[in-house]
Every structure is written in C-alpha cells, then in structure tokens.
Symmetry: C2
Subunit: 247 residues, 2 copies
Amino acid sequence: MSTRYKIKVSYDGTNYSGWQVQPHNRTVQGELERLLAEMTAQKHVRVESSGRTDAGVHARAQVAHFDLPKPIDPNYFMRGLNAQLDRDIRVTSFERVSPEFHARFSAVGKEYRYFIYNGLIVPPTKRLYRLQEGRPLDVDRMRTAAELLVGEHDFAPFSANPRRELDGTVRTVHSFLVRKHGADITLEVQGSGFLYKMVRSLAGILIDVGMGRREPEIIHDVFAHGKRTAIVQTAQPHGLFLWKVFY
Amino acid sequence: MSTRYKIKVSYDGTNYSGWQVQPHNRTVQGELERLLAEMTAQKHVRVESSGRTDAGVHARAQVAHFDLPKPIDPNYFMRGLNAQLDRDIRVTSFERVSPEFHARFSAVGKEYRYFIYNGLIVPPTKRLYRLQEGRPLDVDRMRTAAELLVGEHDFAPFSANPRRELDGTVRTVHSFLVRKHGADITLEVQGSGFLYKMVRSLAGILIDVGMGRREPEIIHDVFAHGKRTAIVQTAQPHGLFLWKVFY
C-alpha cells in the first residue's frame, strides 16, 4: 500500500523548458522526478501537477502529488529535496495526503498573475519577471475588458489549441483584477480552470485594449465569433506566474 | 574641445565581476567602455562612475561620466547603447553636462538599500536579489542599532580595508531606516559617502543584532574600539543595491 504526498513548488521558469518532462530538456517535473527516484531508490516516481506550465512561465505555488512505496518523514524529505534542487526550484510545503487527493482532478480553481512593466526601460533585476510594454496602457480600458471576461464562457477563442482540450472549452472566470502601482501593472485572474495558453491570450488582448488597438467591447465580438483569430495574441511567457491552486 | 556626458546605469550584478574594469572578467564598466569606444570609433573611452560596486552587487541608478571628442545626440546614443548591451545593464538617462561635472567628486551623498528575505525559503524569483536569513530578525532591535549609526563617525571598523581609503574613514550617515513588509526587510541608508564594503558591514552587524547575537549597543563599543574586528561581518553582496547618487 503506497502513500501519497502533496507538495507545493515555487519556481523561476527562466531556465526550464516548462513543467512537463521532455526527453532532452531540463524541466521542473523532470528535476523533481529524478531526485525523488534517487532519494527513494525507486526506478521512477511519477510527479503529477495541477497542470503544466509553459517554458519560461514561473510558479509561486504549483501543486503536485506522487506516491511512495512506504511512508517517509515529510520535513526531512523536503529539506533533502531543497538541498539538492537548484535554487530556482523550491519545495515550500510537503505533506502526506489521502490517496483520493489528485493535484489536477481535485483542484477546484486557480489563480494566475501576469506582470507587465509599462515603461520604456524595464529595471534589469525585473527583466525576467515582467513583460515590458513601452506604449502607455490605459488601465481603465483594461478593467472594462477584464470585467467582460468574468463569468462562464466558451473560451475556445483564447485557447492556443482548442481541439486539444479534453474537458471542452467552457470555463468560469471568477474574478479578473487589473492593478497598477507605478509602472507595474498586474493582471490577477481567478477561475475554475484555464485552457492551453489561455491566460497569456487574455493578457494579450487586454494589452491591445490598454494601448488603444482594440476597444474593450472586442471581448463580446471574440466570444460571439467563437473561434480563435489573429485578434487574440499570446503574450510572452515570462510575465506569467501560476499563483495559487485552490482545492 | 571634448564634451562631457552623464549617464545613469541600472544593472543586475549577478553575472558581472562588479563595476570596475578587470582584464579577464566581465564588468559593467568594461561593457560600457567597449561599446562606447566602438560607437564613437575611439581607441578608448574612459567611463568614470560615482564609485565601484563589488561583484554581485546591483545598481538601481549608478551614475557615470565620460568625454567624447565631439557632441553626439544623447537620445540616439542611449538607444544605441541599450540595443547592444545585454538586458542586465540598462542606460536609463543620458545627458550632456558641464566639463566640471565629475561622477565621483561632484557627488554629495548616496543611498544604498540592502534587501533581506527573513524566512526559511526565499522565493526562487527573488533569490538573486535578497539575502536569505531563516532565523527571525527583530526589526525593533535593528532600528535601535541603525539609529546609533546615524551621524558623523569614524567608520574604519566598518571598512574592509581602512588603509585603502584615500579620504580618511570619517563619514556621515544621514539616515538609516529599517522597513519590514511581510518576510521582506529592507535597510535604507543615506550618507555622505561609504567606505569599502561599509554598507555590507553595516548590514552584517544589524542582522546579528536582529537575531539576538549582539545587543544594539554593540555599535557604541565598535566605534569606541576604532578598529575592525571579527564582531563586524560582511553580509553577502547579492542583497545590496546602489539606489541613488545625490549631486
């Protein structure tokens, strides 16, 4: 009878090809699975997350689970993992959970944050964690558009690959805040779930609305059209953080 | 008759061996001098800063000056420099100044900030810009010690090499604030000038006071003793930012 563990993982996605294991690239899942297999002398430990993140995307608190053949001391194991992981991945919580817990299927919602630096020159120490946009963004316009995205909708026009979505393309956005603090603009979106590249696509259209290339009401048109078109651009990955997974 | 230019430079010090030119290492001054010489077809352009920063130290707004044989368009040149510099160095301002202006000798004061993450696990995206300290720091004790550092003092005990200081070792600290916001503790110090590794030494003793290894009144003893001892430790460079130079 194996035991199941849940971990929270924070990472700087800059030097990883995303979450998901790939044969020849360094990924967050790959690093965790390799170390867990070493530490437990298993051939393979499969680490299942709440969902993949793309190359370059960061996580404040990704959640994952895995099974080990016998119980271990979570605190001791967490320290051991962090001692061996590079400092751009940190395990911030490690606990035993019921075998019914599933990082992806048990999740009831997620929060993502997208960070924009609205100025000509992004401070060097923020360059890896902000989308830089030099043209002035009108946050009131962005807020109007963000409000139109809240609710249950078919978000297919905001998926990079709607046909790949196994659970359909209807999702609920619970809240979508646009905060401004000096040159920093932050998009905070909570929802039941998000399609492939959906947050980056929502960020893309809000940025276009903010700079006046589109009217906020374009959101109505995009939903009405129902399919992805060139109107929806995918914003760069490095501004995006998986912020929180709700269970 | 050459013309003098003043620039502000922001940099992420992580991948540099500090400000000052070194024969075989990548430095901020080295990068700027190389590009300016290329852009102006000069053999050498000497870039003089307000003062060197050590390997790993960051700058929000370093100031430097240099002379060019004939006038150039500052805006055009600033864009050209930024286009060729790596993104961890940005020139944020570029202006013609009087030949009397000197980045070091005209400076009347400086502000440094030292960033501490007071928690067991520093978020990966902050790891290059915060000193991590897991033991709880008492900011009230740190503030008491910081107050004792304000004023005109012989800071020789806080210099890594007092004999190297050409202008003596007396300096004035105008203000020294300790701010706390969640796990982030920031030391903000303004003064007439700072000795070699002085800010990191001040940070080192404040951290020792904050964790209870020293009493705040140790500052009196250190000044009274007058010489550097092992009581004063130099905090790591990556928490330090040269914040502002006053003219």
